[in-house]
């Protein structure tokens, strides 16, 4: 794919994306877009972001050669991009840092966020603590129960966690409540969305703060192999870690694979494989693939990993699917658990359950590869947060 220039000036990725929001939000979105475009081309701002990535997050994160895993499959060489080593334990901090710097430029005094698994909530609570801004995180009642460790972490970091009791009581409705809060308080409040979703400019802006992942991979793989990888694999919920690692390779001859959560299986209703089983619709400010009912209501979805448990997907992924630039596959709950066990015991790395979906795809991909090929997997986060879930789903 040459000359990739998405989105257009109205925030459309082909027929996807856009700004399907109540009129009240148009003005704050325009102000945000202007400030973002101004700052992203301002050297001082970019330098401040890079410095924080280095000194606060610990970037660049390593690219690790997975020696034993490579031998296990006996095919292509496998490299792991170690976003699990970011401060707070996942790639989410990249975007949180970028947006908090923007919020400061916009003179906002209050930050809100939505969270599912709690990783984005923790990242936002962390940057708010660092910069001394008031932080409120919306979280579904069900997620609060299943991710109580992260709820405690956020509180420890000084954030207030607001339980969401409407609708599905998970990530989808936490996002709705955050948007409603923003409609009401947009004057003093910045809303830090956690993924490449929502109305323009969010999908573009979050991508710009996450593309540092792919930029580093490009340099690192040249140092190891003196060439580009053949495959890059990443999990996709909203899709921010995937866009972050894919985007710098979009114009290159590299096969990009996104892995969605197939939950209990694609034949059931208990999955969140939005790109595989959904159809385009309008939800939370964007046109994108959605899991929806016959009447156009948004479905309640399922994944063992709370971070993938979302009925929509970033509009850029919808565009990359329809243009056949990225191939989207799926992994079930049990395949993700098996992949968690395999990586932990083979490489000494406990991946997040979200990440484990990308690793599960190696079972399908690797047999088709040859020993002179190179695969990079984005290890988007670490799995300590998931231990309670893993304990209940694993046997030795």
């Amino acid at each position: 794919m040459k000359n990739y220039q998405q989105p257009d000036s109205n925030g459309h990725f082909g027929k996807f994306g856009g700004q399907f929001v109540p009129e009240t939000l148009i003005q704050p979105l325009k102000v945000l877009e202007e400030m973002f475009l101004e700052q992203i081309s301002n050297e001082d701002f970019v330098q401040e972001f890079i410095n924080l990535c280095k000194e606060f997050t610990g970037r660049p994160t390593p690219l690790t050669y997975a020696d034993r895993l490579t031998k296990h499959y006996g095919k292509a060489k496998i490299y792991l991009k170690r976003e699990d080593l970011c401060h707070t334990g996942a790639h989410k901090i990249n975007n949180a840092l970028g947006q908090i710097l923007l919020a400061r430029k916009l003179n906002k005094t209050r930050i809100i966020a939505e969270t599912g698994a709690g990783q984005h909530g923790v990242a936002v609570a962390t940057v708010c603590a660092k910069f001394g801004l008031k932080c409120q995180v919306y979280m579904g009642e069900i997620d609060i129960t299943r991710q109580n460790l992260n709820v405690f972490r956020m509180k420890l970091l000084g954030a207030e966690v607001i339980p969401v009791t409407s609708g599905s009581r998970t990530l989808k409705d936490a996002t709705n409540e955050a948007i409603r809060d923003w409609v009401t308080n947009c004057e003093n409040t910045h809303y830090i969305i956690g993924s490449v979703v929502g109305p323009h400019p969010y999908p573009m802006m979050v991508r710009e703060f996450q593309k540092i992942i792919g930029i580093e991979v490009k340099q690192q793989i040249y140092a190891f192999e003196n060439r580009l990888p053949d495959y890059i694999v990443a999990c996709v919920g909203g899709g921010s870690n995937a866009i972050g690692i894919f985007y710098p390779f979009i114009e290159d001859n590299v096969k990009l694979i996104g892995v969605e959560a197939a939950g209990h299986g694609l034949g059931t209703d208990l999955h969140c494989a939005t790109l595989t089983k959904g159809r385009p619709g309008i939800f939370q400010g964007m046109i994108s693939y959605l899991l929806q009912t016959e009447e156009g209501n948004i479905k309640t979805v399922h994944s063992i990993s709370a971070g993938l448990d979302y009925p929509g997907v970033g509009p850029e992924h919808s565009y990359l699917k329809d243009s056949n630039r990225v191939y989207y596959s799926q992994a079930t709950d049990s395949e993700a658990i098996a992949a968690t066990k395999l990586l932990s015991s083979m490489e000494g790395i406990l991946p997040a359950l979200e990440t484990a979906h990308a690793l599960a795809h190696l079972e399908i991909l690797l047999p088709k590869t040859s020993p002179n090929e190179v695969v990079v997997v984005n290890i988007s986060g670490r799995g300590d947060k998931d231990l309670n879930t893993i304990i209940n789903n694993i046997t030795f």
Partner: protein
């Protein structure tokens, strides 16, 4: 010529401003909906806004959200909305407006939605999550005699207000507050006055947070009518006759407040 606009013109000529009442389709129940709507119109409402239920109503507060969830669990679809509007329009000639979010309508097919809406007694459509930016994309130059009502808010810039007025038909919907439906009203009178001055083509109706005759009094001077939703839904939550009578009394009191002395 717009039925909605004609109705407003005639009312204003009689020194009466408009009361529009919103009620989620199929709420409190599928069986009672049509009768309750007819009683609301008989009690003095000028327009009926039939709310198309949606799972994720971003511009709405908890009361309308809950009514929407209940309607969805009652199995209400867009075809039910058309059946309701058809029955109501056969028994009462006041304008019916469909109000709903973009996705169920996109999913139904925008063009067939507008055709069937017109066939079933609907005079206008309000879709709060299709702003000017997405107008061309969403409506895709459909030809319709239905009014498409756009919204303006306290955060809308002057240039946009002019564009919204030009694109809107029937009336322009002024959202009184920064926030969602069902919050307490807090009118920025200066913004309302300056909006009013910029709206040249259409009449202006105000909604969000209007829940009593005194709210009507506080805003009526600056607008051509008011819209009430959450408060009525809250009143009829229980669905019993007493609750409905109370809601109807409120409608008639609010309509009385719409008469210009």
């Amino acid at each position: 010529m717009s039925e909605i606009r004609n109705y407003i013109d005639s009312s204003l000529a009689l020194k009466e401003k408009i009361l529009s009442v919103f009620l989620t389709a199929g709420y409190p129940s599928k069986n009672d909906y049509v009768d309750i709507c007819l009683s609301i119109l008989d009690a003095g409402a000028d327009f009926l806004e039939v709310g198309i239920p949606f799972s994720d109503p971003l511009a709405d507060g908890s009361v309308i959200q809950a009514s929407s969830e209940k309607a969805i669990s009652n199995g209400i679809s867009i075809d039910n909305v058309f059946q309701f509007s058809n029955s109501i329009s056969r028994r009462n000639s006041k304008p019916i407006i469909a109000m709903g979010y973009a996705n169920p309508i996109l999913n139904y097919g925008v063009e067939s939605f507008f055709i069937k809406a017109a066939d079933n007694g609907i005079s206008g459509v309000i879709i709060p999550d299709v702003p000017l930016e997405e107008y061309e994309f969403f409506y895709n130059q459909i030809k319709t005699k239905l009014d498409i009502v756009l919204l303006t808010t306290p955060t809308t810039s002057s240039n946009r207000i002019v564009d919204i007025d030009n694109k809107s038909s029937g009336f322009v919907y002024y959202v009184t507050l920064k926030g969602v439906t069902g919050q307490s009203i807090l009118i920025d009178t200066n913004k309302l006055k300056s909006t009013r001055e910029l709206i040249r083509k259409n009449h202006l109706l105000a909604g969000f947070g209007i829940s009593s005759p005194s709210d009507v009094h506080s805003i009526l001077e600056h607008v051509d009518g008011v819209i009430v939703g959450s408060r009525i839904i809250k009143e009829i939550e229980d669905g019993n006759t007493k609750a409905i009578d109370k809601a109807l009394k409120l409608v008639s009191d609010m309509k009385f407040a719409c008469k210009v002395e």
